[in-house]
């Protein structure tokens, strides 16, 4: 479904990502791990169209997406979150979900002004989808609260719900467990697995929390200093000597 081939990203003299390749198949959770500064987020930024990669190819469902404007990439069905929560804080929870469905609605201004039946039906549909996901992440009671007033864990869940209402095929989560307590992390774990199982979404995950990564990933890619270090199933990674060295230092 997603294929990253020999991706490189250079910032001036710094080669932040060097020849990284990875692939994600349908119905799969793939993690990218690595020490701080390894270039994980840079890979993400290239994939989501935030950066234009210096070299390499990114194929999504067979089509090249590198260098495309980010709104086009997301319209293909790849959405992402950030390390820091980025909600529209001065809009209500439900508005955050409605605005994410902007492109699914009729963009004809006239039908919006006249409130044609078609327009109403679409509005209703997006409202239904929003309330479904609010129920799913347990925020329905807070639908009319400003998003900025939610607790941190709730904001994290809202962010995932906001991605899901866009009906993505591939979800890219950048450290979704950062700042969560252990029980919230467990709930997040279940949510991510359920996205894959119940909604047929593939997930790419950047994460530091090893318990989360090892529990839910189908495959793991390890990056160190911008270079690919290893890839494989959680068990293979756990027993890989290079990975142990990179994480724990030479023994």
């Amino acid at each position: 479904m997603l294929e990253v081939q020999n991706l490189s990203m250079r910032f001036g003299g710094l080669l932040a990502v060097d020849q990284v390749s990875l692939d994600v198949k349908e119905h799969e959770i793939v993690s990218i791990i690595g020490p701080n500064g390894a270039g994980k987020t840079t890979v993400f930024n290239c994939m989501s169209g935030f950066y234009k990669p210096s070299d390499g190819k990114i194929l999504f469902e067979g089509g090249e997406v590198q260098g495309k404007p980010d709104y086009k990439i997301s319209r293909l069905g790849m959405v992402r979150t950030f390390q820091h929560v980025r909600l529209f804080n001065r809009m209500t929870v439900v508005e955050n979900l409605l605005v994410a469905q902007h492109r699914h609605l009729n963009t004809n201004l006239l039908s919006g002004l006249l409130k044609t039946p078609n327009y109403r039906a679409r509005e209703q549909k997006s409202l239904d989808r929003a309330s479904y996901w609010l129920k799913r992440v347990g925020l329905l009671d807070l639908a009319n609260v400003d998003a900025g007033n939610l607790a941190y864990g709730q904001q994290r869940r809202l962010e995932i719900a906001r991605c899901m209402v866009t009906e993505p095929k591939l979800l890219m989560l950048d450290e979704p467990a950062a700042g969560l307590n252990p029980s919230e992390t467990r709930a997040l774990n279940q949510l991510i697995v359920s996205l894959k199982e119940d909604y047929n979404v593939s997930v790419v995950l950047i994460e530091h929390d090893m318990s989360l990564v090892m529990d839910i990933s189908d495959r793991i890619n390890v990056i160190n200093q911008g270079r690919p270090l290893a890839s494989g199933t959680p068990d293979e990674i756990r027993n890989n000597d290079d990975v142990i060295k990179a994480y724990l230092g030479e023994a």
């Binding site: 404007p69 508005e95 605005v99 994410a100 902007h102």
Partner: protein, 307 residues
Amino acid sequence: MQDLLYFSQQLINGLTIGSTYALIAIGYTMVYGIIGMINFAHGEIYMIGAYTALIAITGLAALGIAWLPLVLIVALVCAMIVSSSMGWAVERVAYRPVRGRHRLIPLISAIGMSIFLQNYVHLAQGSRNIGFPALIEGGFRFGAADSFQISISYIQITIFLTTLVCMTLLSLFISRSRIGRACRAVSQDLGMANLLGIDTNRIISATFVIGAALAAVAGLLLGMYYGSIDPLFGFIAGLKAFTAAVLGGIGSIPGAMLGGLILGVAESMTSGYLSGEYKDVVSFGLLILILLFKPTGLLGKPEVEKI
């Protein structure tokens, strides 16, 4: 009693002029809210709106059409269409190609756009004042005949009501409609809105177009109110409206409305009690005071960076 009547008269004059400032100020504040830039060509867009309305009115008169509601509506629609396309073009030509560069660059290209439009109208329409037909004449008078009378002209009522309608529609549009929702999202986090699949370029264009359409409404109203227009018509009104937007808190739409009204009332009170010469001194003095004591304006929210 006399004093109270005189005061009321100044208040009415102030609210009239202030509501048109508010209409123009919306354009400044919406564009600033979305891309954080001041559209310095906005005053010219308003001026072009007034000229278009005048051309439409003259054209209809030449055709022998004199039914007032029709004339007003045709003039309004023409002015709004031409100004909106100008607003759209200003964004395409002066802003989009230089977006993301240093902040000064779009500022300067907008000033260039403003000079260009001003001089274009100079060439096309001549630099002298052109009379603007009042169209709506007459008014009410209150008070005893031998003392001070309050007069409210129909044009003042028209200005106030039209502004009220425009503001209500705009507020509904921003709070309820799909594009309004997207506008708010883009103004809060443009990058994230982009990533969620919103075509932010279209939303940015939309804010320029909406602001320009409201400026065109103000152009027609003020043209009728003042009775004459010239190519520099937009400069001082633009400056006043910009002041109103900053006064109310730039980026905030209710702030622009409030700022416009306060500025209009302050000006007319100065003219009424001090001297007409001082009204600009007072309005810009007010701006300095507000910026000293409340730099974000009356309703502006301070930008808080989360650490």
